[in-house]
């Protein structure tokens, strides 16, 4: 594996005991992120995206158990790190951006206090240097009159500006990887485009790895280098962004793509595709393909399907009983039926 891989995850699982038994919300996820690379994890609500990111950061709910065959960050196995060591990693090397900026901004302190505190605690206790960096980063994230913003409180800013402040805060200690969980979901489309533009620029400039979690395939197509499509706790398809969008193979991926109206492509008023049915319950013993109860191409074999992915040459892989040719054929057929 090339040496600029920052984060390498193999067979990550999360289990949470619930009243009905053991919930398996993340069931064997593998991926890697290199410096300067953006991985998008995409899937519908409840598929385990947020728990995957929390598992990486060591921030799972107390009752949850995490297992993995490999969890290497900057070449170090972080599976058995103490909470104090994880906290140090999170402070400096792994930064997190959430959907709701107020989850990471404290309403009681000024923006300046919060930005400066992170830096002084983790990097250098000198106040002047921290302040300088805060102003530098606020300007970087496109906030005008940065110096005067330091004395403002989070509630005095609009949602878009708060999101920018949170990004500045995430960058204070020069992280190696940014994990952004639905960072623009609560924002207007205009502000969303601005924030994503900004994130992509900063990521290139600082050569960070980025894991961007979203339910929005439009965002994925525009920002991802690599895509990981999740369904019911596992990866159903992954690969280079272009390959996954140009020739989706898993019926879930192609089904999702048929659901979204695309201006200029989908005929106005035509029927949109759909993925009928609902997500299965992930409590207890699970086997076979979890998508089979919603899949047009399901057969008896799907009930016994092992979780092994079929690999294509370019890193594109999908987990399905169908061969790549059959899957491509099936995806084209869905496309025709909708059109």
């Amino acid at each position: 594996m090339s040496k600029d891989v920052i984060l390498d995850v193999r067979n990550l699982k999360v289990d949470i005991p619930v009243s009905a038994g053991m919930l398996h919300p993340v069931r064997g996820i593998s991926f890697s992120v290199a410096r300067g690379e953006t991985l998008c994890i995409v899937g519908e609500s409840g598929c385990g995206k947020s728990l995957t990111s929390l598992a990486l950061m060591g921030l799972l709910p107390k009752t949850a158990t995490r297992t993995a065959d490999k969890l290497d960050f900057l070449g170090q196995d972080i599976r058995d790190l103490k909470e104090r060591q994880m906290a140090a990693l999170r402070g400096v090397n792994m930064a997190m951006i959430f959907q709701e900026p107020m989850t990471s901004l404290n309403p009681a302190y000024t923006i300046g206090n919060q930005l400066i505190e992170v830096y002084r605690r983790h990097i250098d206790p000198g106040k002047a240097e921290a302040r300088e960096r805060a102003i530098f980063l606020l300007e970087k994230v496109g906030i005008s009159a940065a110096a005067s913003r330091l004395s403002q409180y989070p509630h005095q800013l609009s949602g878009g500006l708060r999101q920018r402040v949170m990004i500045a805060m995430a960058l204070m200690c020069g992280p190696d990887v940014i994990i952004a969980d639905e960072p623009t979901t609560a924002l207007d489309v205009t502000i969303q485009a601005q924030i994503l533009h900004l994130l992509a620029d900063l990521q290139k400039e600082f050569q960070m790895g980025m894991i961007l979690i979203t339910h929005d395939l439009g965002i994925v197509a525009r920002v991802a280098d690599k895509v990981q499509v999740m369904y019911a706790g596992s990866t159903v398809e992954e690969g280079p962004c272009q390959a996954v969008f140009d020739s989706p193979l898993h019926p879930y991926t192609s089904g999702l793509l048929r659901c979204i109206p695309v201006p200029g492509k989908t005929q106005r008023g035509s029927r949109l595709g759909s993925v009928p049915g609902i997500v299965p319950n992930l409590v207890g013993d699970l086997h076979g393909c979890m998508f089979r109860n919603r899949c047009d191409h399901a057969e008896a074999a799907c009930e016994a399907l092992a979780g092994d992915a079929t690999q294509l040459s370019d890193g594109h892989a999908f987990t399905c009983r169908m061969t790549p040719d059959e899957a491509a054929q099936a995806a084209r057929q869905t496309a025709r039926e909708v059109a």
């Binding site: 005008s144 205009t190 485009a193 197509a221 969008f245 109206p261 200029g264």
Partner: protein, 323 residues
């Protein structure tokens, strides 16, 4: 042709508290809007959050008294109707299927409430009406005995649609009807709304921040900015030939799933107007990439070509610019 629903120069001003001892200031949530919703059409209303879309919805539903201006129902002034009359003609579907359904009531009770309020027909018929409408929106009849918490988001939104349609209204105001839903569910709800429109001859006002959804569904589109409609045209024209710089920025922000494109630069800047203290002249000028001297000095007048309206100095007739 008279519109099913129309506003004439409607404004809505809220007094907003400025904090302890600071008194209150007026906020023009809707500022002189004239909008026609022709019978049988889908009119899309788009714009960023806070621009006044939901306030427009409340005014049209008769839930919010406009500060000035008039609402016309099939050409008749709202003054001649009471709340129940309006509710028979116009029904809402809101964004959040979680908070808009009473959690303590069964689906049957939620869907049949309008029948009980309006006391229409024979109560013995109400059960049948409930089941008919559940069939129509694609819900199994057994959900009648369920409670909202036992349903998925998509099912709840179908309940909200059933509740809105049981009185067979003429107009449905859909305020972000799919924004809280996953895409696979969104497409089912959009398909359902299309089917119902054809089957029942419905008229929709579709409020959405998702322009791809609006372009898919709407016949006409109105773009709103800080309480004003700044551009309005039939959907084809608006999406093919957007004129207002704000409309262009909105359309440019739509992220279609095209991996050969990156994230667009919207050229919008980061200055956000304060609705209590809106910018002078054109209220969009501080964010506008095509801003001219006149834009901060003079409020633009609506300019109409065919039935394409734009409120922007770029399109003002020459003599007006010379002023």
């Amino acid at each position: 042709m008279t519109a099913a629903l129309e506003t004439v120069d409607v404004s809505c001003v809220f007094q907003v508290n400025q904090g302890f001892m600071k008194g209150s200031k007026p906020l023009r949530a809707v500022n002189g809007v004239s909008l026609k919703i022709p019978k049988g059409q889908v009119v899309g209303l788009v714009g960023e959050s806070g621009c006044g879309k939901s306030t427009m919805a409340s005014i049209l539903l008769g839930l919010q008294e406009p500060t000035s201006g008039e609402v016309l129902y099939s050409g008749e002034s709202a003054g001649s109707f009471d709340g129940k009359d309006i509710a028979r003609r116009i029904q809402p579907i809101f964004q959040d299927p979680y908070s808009s359904l009473n959690p303590t009531k069964s689906i049957h009770s939620i869907v049949s409430l309008p029948l009980r309020i309006h006391n229409v027909g024979d109560p013995a018929d109400w059960d049948r009406k409930v089941y008919d409408i559940l069939d129509l929106v694609g819900l199994p009849r057994r959900v009648a005995q369920s409670y909202p918490s036992q349903l998925s988001g998509g099912q709840r939104q179908r309940v909200a649609i059933a509740r809105a349609l049981i009185m067979r209204p003429e107009v449905v105001i859909c305020d972000e009807p799919t924004s809280a839903l996953d895409v696979s569910v969104q497409s089912q709800i959009l398909n359902l709304l299309q089917d119902l429109r054809q089957e029942l001859g419905l008229t929709y006002l579709l409020i959405s921040h998702n322009l791809a959804v609006v372009e898919h569904m709407a016949d006409r589109v109105a773009v709103m900015y800080l309480g004003r409609i700044v551009e309005e045209a039939d959907a084809d024209t608006l999406f093919r030939d957007p004129r207002h710089p704000y409309t262009k920025a909105l359309l440019g922000s739509v992220l279609t799933p095209d991996p050969s494109l990156g994230v667009p630069d919207t050229h919008l800047g980061t200055v956000f107007p304060n609705p209590i203290d809106p910018p002078l002249g054109c209220s969009f000028h501080p964010r506008c990439s095509a801003c001219m001297d006149i834009c901060s000095a003079q409020t633009p007048m609506p300019v109409t070509e065919g039935d394409h309206m734009t409120e922007c100095h770029l399109y003002a007739p020459q003599e007006a610019v010379a002023v």
